[in-house]
Structure formats: structure tokens, C-alpha cells
């Protein structure tokens, strides 16, 4: 893994991005705005499942009508995130919050697929109703918490001085 990061770090295109004055601000700003599109819509989907809001909207309306937009936001988010990483791989290699964020995204993804291929199959039975099955509500809570944690670890990546002590002892960045 480390050699992969070091290899990218030495690529001319990575160096060019890193040395460009505008690239970082532009990518980070687009990263935040696209996050709003993705995470904003997903948050209300989660809250619909939990039963916090939008109770009169049929559950199945949201995946068909809002997910294309959320996925567009996610696509832009992934691209700008990947570019940010590509431009300074060695800045993030030893960063606890970077790896935590990636792990949290992975778990959020697993939760999403699990929900989609198991719980969501029976949506016809609870589409209109106010009684959402417990599994679906749980999936909503888990998703809401995980994506919030992704946002938090995303912002914390800038604080390389605030990583947990045990992580620093691993000396991964050195």
C-alpha cells in the first residue's frame, strides 16, 4: 500500500496537481458542494425510513425519484475526493481520519447493499404505511450515523495534529 502511495506521489500529474495554486481549493470546494447534493438527499431518505419526516411520501418514490440525483452528487464527490487524494497521497497516507473515513464509507456501502437486497424487497407491503419494519428503520439509523461520521472524519483530515495517540504510536506516516 505504501509503495502505491509513494509511486503516485512521484507521478508528474500528481506533482502538477499538487503544485497548482487553484487545483486544491477548486477540488475541495466542489467536493463539499457535491457532498451536499449526495448526503443531503440521503439524509432525508434515511429519516424517511426512520419515520422522522416525509411520512406521506411513498417510500419507494425516493429511490426512483431522488437516487439518480444523489448518485450524481456521489459521482462528483468520488471524483473530486480521488483527485484530492491523488494530488497529495503522502499527506493522507499517515492520516488516521483518512483511513477511518474510507472504512466508514465501506461499512455504509455494505449497509446500503444489504438493505437494498434484503429488507427493501418487501417494500410493497410498507410503501404507504407509517409502520416501517424495524430492519428498515435500523438501516436508516445506521446509514444516518455512518454518513455523518464520514462528514466528520472528512473535515478532521485537515487536523493532522489531532490523531489518536495509539495511531501516532504506529508511526505509519513516518
Amino acid at each position: 500500500m505504501r509503495s502505491l502511495f509513494e509511486w503516485v506521489d512521484a507521478l508528474p500529474s500528481s506533482i502538477a496537481l499538487r503544485e497548482s495554486l487553484n487545483a486544491y481549493p477548486t477540488m475541495l470546494t466542489i467536493h463539499v458542494v457535491s457532498m451536499c447534493l449526495f448526503a443531503g438527499l440521503i439524509a432525508y431518505w434515511d429519516m424517511r425510513l426512520i419515520g422522522f419526516t416525509l411520512k406521506k411520501v411513498p417510500v419507494s418514490n425516493i429511490p426512483t425519484r431522488l437516487f439518480p440525483w444523489a448518485l450524481t452528487g456521489y459521482g462528483i464527490n468520488l471524483i473530486t475526493g480521488a483527485l484530492l487524494l491523488y494530488s497529495q497521497p503522502m499527506r493522507y497516507y499517515g492520516n488516521f481520519y483518512f483511513w477511518a473515513k474510507m472504512a466508514l464509507m465501506l461499512v455504509a456501502g455494505i449497509n446500503m447493499f444489504w438493505f437494498h437486497y434484503a429488507t427493501y424487497k418487501s417494500v410493497q407491503a410498507w410503501d404507504q404505511g407509517r409502520e416501517i419494519p424495524l430492519n428498515a428503520r435500523l438501516a436508516g439509523v445506521v446509514s444516518l450515523v455512518l454518513w455523518a461520521a464520514v462528514v466528520v472524519t472528512g473535515r478532521m483530515m485537515a487536523y493532522s495534529g489531532l490523531m489518536p495517540g495509539w495511531w501516532n504510536n504506529l508511526n505509519i506516516g513516518a
Partner: protein, 157 residues
């Protein structure tokens, strides 16, 4: 006048505490972003509906009425997590053009929301021609530029 107000904010004990306490600023910044996600979703679901996209099977005024409080309370959360940052970095904010643009557009956005957008969203659907689309488009534009200017305070000031 305004400058001395910002100098006064910078000099408050609270501002000094924010800067000394290692975790205070990062926690507040993270909370500001989480609040932003809640705000963005509440605004977008209605704006997309104004544009004729998104949840078109649900009446617009029903969505608008429901999400109105989510929008207001997320804005309150943005204010509560934004104000301490203004206090602790008052002089930086004062000298950042992006900060002033952000604040001006926020005022415009709030006025626009409570005078025009809300009225259009709650009106009988199909009676206003293309105006709902214009309003949805403007609203997305306003809040996107607020976010862009906000991010640029930290990056370019």
C-alpha cells in the same frame, strides 16, 4: 465602527477559550458541516420539486410545509455553529471578502425564502406558469454560492 465591533469580538474571553481549547474549533466545524447537510437536503428536495423534478408524486405545498421546519432548524444549527467561529476568528473574517459575500448572500437568501420562495411553494400548483422553476433555480444558486464563498474563506483568506 464595524471594525471595532470585530476587534471587540476577537478580544472576548470566549474567543480566547475557543482558540486555546484544542478540540473546540474542529468540533464546531464538523457540526457546521453536519448541519449544512441537513440544510441542503431540506432546501434541495423542495427546490427540485419546484423545478419539476424529484418527488413529483407528492403535492409541492405538502413537501414545502413539511420541510420548512427542517430548513429553519438546520439554519439555526448553522448559525449556532457558525457564530462561535466568527467570534474566535473575527479579524480574519473581517478582512475576508468571501465572508462578507457569504453574509450578504445569506441575507438575500433568507429574504428571498420568506417573501417569494415559500409563497410560490405553498401556492396552488399549476397557477404560476414558469415562476416555480425560476424560484427553484435561484434558490439552489443562492445556497450553492453561500457554500462556495464559505469554503473559500478558509482556503483563500
Amino acid at each position: 465602527m464595524l471594525q471595532s465591533f470585530f476587534v471587540w469580538m476577537q478580544g472576548l474571553p470566549f474567543s480566547a477559550w475557543m482558540l486555546e481549547e484544542t478540540w473546540a474549533s474542529p468540533i464546531i466545524q464538523c457540526a457546521h458541516l453536519v448541519a449544512l447537510v441537513g440544510f441542503a437536503g431540506a432546501v434541495l428536495v423542495v427546490d427540485m420539486r419546484l423545478l419539476g423534478r424529484g418527488l413529483i408524486k407528492t403535492p409541492l405545498n405538502q413537501l414545502a410545509r413539511e420541510l420548512d421546519r427542517w430548513m429553519i432548524w438546520s439554519f439555526v444549527a448553522l448559525f449556532v455553529t457558525g457564530a462561535p467561529q466568527v467570534l474566535s476568528t473575527a479579524l480574519k473574517q473581517y478582512y475576508s471578502p468571501f465572508f462578507w459575500w457569504k453574509m450578504q448572500i445569506i441575507v438575500i437568501g433568507l429574504l428571498f425564502n420568506f417573501t417569494i420562495r415559500r409563497r410560490v411553494a405553498l401556492a396552488e400548483e399549476g397557477t404560476l406558469g414558469h415562476w416555480p422553476k425560476v424560484v427553484g433555480f435561484l434558490s439552489i444558486g443562492i445556497w450553492t454560492s453561500v457554500s462556495v464563498y464559505a469554503r473559500l474563506i478558509g482556503l483563500l483568506s
